[in-house]
Assembly symmetry: C2
Homo-oligomer: 226 residues x 2
């Protein structure tokens, strides 16, 4: 399909993977078929990508990158609300271009780093708009599906750091602070306020009920045609 003149690169492989998934769905994206589309043998892919899982991780990152671009292309002035709204609508446009993306993002075993960056910007937006760390946290959960089209617990203890050592954990946190400052501050604030640390800082049951009541409140109001 593509000219086989220029040498294979990770970027060319990922772009072809996006095209293949767009055209024939995630199930059709196999190492062998992707290689064929690139005019190359299946085993050549392993030189540029760490196996199938690595390919899927790269694909997930590509989608987030495209979303980031789409968001930047339409970032209105006027405070947190129109900006957040535009952000969600931009994300949706990308998801409609790549219908396989929600399923892919939702089933990746570890959260692609690009997702953290995306949420960090979102949290920054909310904080600048006067949200507390607590409410920003809840907002991210409530809008999670609207923003990424999938449901998943972010920041499970396993996926956040991966290290049991306290020093390593602090090193991880320091590294996080550099790349995703708003997210780090939010995590720190929420951990500090946690009443029952055994539940983890991200008590998803509470978040679920918060979002649920937000929706029920809104529907109730709409029912009484306000």
């Amino acid at each position: 399909v593509t000219t086989s003149r220029e040498p294979l690169t990770r970027e060319r492989a990922l772009a072809a993977a996006v095209d293949l998934a767009d055209a024939e769905g995630l199930k059709a994206l196999t190492m062998r078929r992707l290689a064929a589309a690139l005019g190359v043998e299946a085993m050549s892919l392993y030189y540029h990508l760490p196996g199938k899982e690595g390919l899927l991780d790269g694909l997930a990152s590509s989608v987030i990158a495209e979303m980031e671009q789409e968001v930047a292309a339409d970032d209105p002035a006027g405070g947190w609300r129109p900006r957040l709204r535009a952000r969600c609508l931009a994300a949706r446009r990308v998801m409609l271009r790549h219908p396989w993306a929600p399923a892919l993002l939702g089933t990746r075993p570890s959260v692609p780093p690009a997702v953290y960056a995306y949420f960090d910007e979102t949290v920054g937006l909310l904080l600048a708009g006067g949200f507390s760390h607590r409410l920003a946290h809840r907002a991210v959960h409530a809008l999670g599906t609207m923003m990424l089209g999938f449901v998943q617990e972010l920041f499970t203890p396993a996926s956040a750091g991966g290290s049991t050592d306290v020093d390593d954990a602090e090193a991880d946190l320091a590294a996080m602070a550099a790349t995703v400052p708003h997210l780090t501050a939010m995590v720190a604030a929420e951990m500090h306020d946690a009443t029952d640390p055994t539940l983890g800082w991200c008590d998803s049951q509470t978040e679920f009920e918060f979002t649920l009541d937000l929706l029920l409140d809104g529907l109730d109001r709409a029912r009484s045609h306000v």
Copy 2:
């Protein structure tokens, strides 16, 4: 794992499939491994189930059936709101028991019939609570993720009837009216009101923005600590 005395049945196979997915995830659920867990050869499964896709369809229906059961076990009095709330929380409990369920339901090529029944009850609940067909429709979209844990367009023209013939379509509608009366009435009302029929009766962009604004309204209110 199970005693291989009693003969294999569709029900035993599906129950074993749920157990396997719970224990080792959806990826581990292969025809060969499921057969082994049942003390049988892989090909025996084909006598009771129409292939892998049929197995996954059955698995999806099992989850909905379990949700239906969980909902029935905790159906409080007091009007649409507490009942709908309990419904969503019950669904969540089932999803937490079967973490693979959202991904499965979200990627099934056609909507399992049990899902229609589930939504029909929900719509009945809303109508009895004084919701218009239009608002009930929007409520189902807004709460879709809370109820089933996945995002998907229901009722695409292809999945709804499958027949292009007008007579067949009307026959399908009549059959639907018998099993899912509230849903049928809602579809009929929405189709009648549709301003631009080319968009389909289910204009998901409108639904998306409705839900988004519901959430943004709620967050804005929470921000001003009401």
